[in-house]
Symmetry: C2
Subunit: 335 residues, 2 copies
């Protein structure tokens, strides 16, 4: 059995070190088109299945990291200093414990998220990816991308996919040490593809995704079928990307999301992230599609929808869905 420290020590062995006083980085958020749902190892965040995501362009986490002189890490989120007992600070401190060389080193972390925090908008993915990029830059390790992805995964599973723009494939791997469980970007650029955040309900989720995954894996009879579902959907999505077949991509992503929510609904007790507004929005998407619009949705561990469409339909769709925020997965900076 490995623990996180073993993995970090292994990846950082023989790294050069040429510390800078400060590093400032950005990592995009990502939305899975083929979902990550279920861990085979909860210590190392090793997933049961592969997953495939699309980045959110300029929506993500900006992180500035410095060496800090105080007795504890100093964490600022969106301009506010968080109290030391804040859940995010505890989680971040535990993660940073893996990287204190010399022992006792403290960090000053300033994170600014350009996406809404929590409510299923995956800010922990871009947040931990940015932390790992900042650690690498500040220490001058110059780690290969595969190693960065593995380190990010130790912070939050889906952070392994947040190091790049565009399509990213996270390989589940099969080893117990997780050294073969890393993400990598796909070569395909699909430059007119868009993903939009439809914020229906910004209340924080009632069940965290780690607990929801655990309960699904342990108690949902329907979860047995999930790995087969992912294998089918992942192949369909990769083929749709090669073919630039938007309808095939959208249909597979939407069906994969519904199947993920179905596995949770059959957990005991049930996990239901849907709100009344979620069902209403699903019906609006289906109705728009029945009227001929090329529009699909996906959903994560929260009540909000993410819409998939092409640039040519963006204006029409933004008019129909009030408050929709369009992201361009191939554009890191605001236009």
């Amino acid at each position: 059995m490995c623990n996180k420290s073993d993995i970090v020590n292994r990846l950082l062995a023989d790294c050069p070190e040429s510390r800078q006083s400060e590093a400032a980085v950005f990592a995009p958020a990502n939305i899975a088109l083929c979902k990550y749902w279920g861990k085979r190892d909860s210590e190392l965040n090793l997933p049961v299945t592969d997953s495939l995501s699309l980045s959110l362009g300029s929506l993500g986490s900006h992180c500035t990291m410095r060496i800090h002189d105080g007795p504890a890490d100093l964490v600022q989120l969106n301009g506010t200093t968080l109290p030391p007992d804040h859940p995010f600070v505890s989680r971040l401190t535990r993660f940073l414990n893996l990287f204190r060389q010399p022992p006792g080193r403290r960090f000053h972390i300033e994170t600014v998220n350009t996406i809404p925090t929590a409510a299923g908008f995956a800010s922990s993915a871009s947040g931990f990816a940015a932390i790992v990029k900042a650690l690498d830059a500040m220490h001058g390790w110059k780690l290969p991308e595969r190693s960065l992805s593995i380190l990010a995964r130790l912070g939050s599973g889906s952070a392994s996919r947040s190091l790049w723009q565009g399509f990213v494939h996270w390989h589940a791997g099969s080893g117990t040490d997780g050294m073969d469980s890393f993400a990598e970007p796909l070569p395909e650029q699909w430059t007119d593809l868009r993903i939009g955040l439809l914020i229906l309900n910004s209340s924080r989720k009632t069940t965290g995704s780690t607990e929801a995954m655990r309960r699904t894996v342990e108690t949902s009879a329907l979860y047995d079928a999930w790995p087969r579902q992912v294998a089918t959907d992942l192949a369909a999505i990769r083929q749709a990307i090669r073919d630039r077949d938007f309808q095939a991509l959208g249909a597979a992503a939407e069906a994969n999301a519904l199947a993920m929510h179905a596995t949770m609904m059959a957990a005991r007790p049930a996990v239901l992230y849907w709100q009344p507004e979620s069902v209403e929005a699903i019906q609006r998407v289906w109705s728009a599609r029945a009227d001929g619009l090329a529009l699909y949705f996906t959903m994560d561990a929260g009540p909000n929808l993410k819409l998939l469409y092409r640039e040519a339909d963006r204006t029409t769709i933004e008019q129909q869905f009030d408050g929709l925020v369009t992201a361009n997965p191939w554009q890191e900076r605001e236009p």
Copy 2:
């Protein structure tokens, strides 16, 4: 391969016949606590799994049947004569074709449903059960209950469970002729148990349950796990009935309904009977339960909820859920 005529001829062979001019009968509607979802034979309505239901007392179908002199069957539903091309008339005429002795005999059918038609309130179950009881009474066949259940099943699967009040267990059977696929009442009477209809949305369903079942069985990867789910839930429900353990009964019934909807949600295209009001009502049930009320729900192929509670909590629950109609499964007549 058997067809419906073969089964009818087999069951009616050697029946006495002492025709009355008219028969008037009643069959209660029923709500499955462990659901029937998926057919292994769509001609004979043979189910993939067993199921277990609770009757709705005085809510069901009153049916009066007479020999009719006209050129076609005359069908009256809730006081209105239906046109010959009405879908219900076509379906009923095809069913009655199995019973025209001498050939060419026509029937005058008057059905009055005391539950809302369609919208997942199982009026076809009580409707076909009542037709079969009326045929038996009018012709003087005096068929055993098992045969009546099989004949009702040929009209509508869940009609096999609508011949009795209280708990009814429908055995899936394994034979290709369906002679071992019949329902029978359980001996247990649980006289303070109540089931309430919560009408949230009375629009007719968009996908009929036969089509929804077919699509789920053929395209939902999660359906593979459904028979195991039913086996677990059915055992838990039967044990809860023996123990008069209301919480165990409610929890198993609610989880079984959610798992059924989960299998549909993973069909392709997805089948979603939920409306925004359904999610809102689910959350209200969960919130009331978190506040200490012994209240559970089940859902069928429609947007409405059916609530499970005990007589002692009836007034409280009727006050909290506006428009709730309480049924007493052990009371056939209005009090």
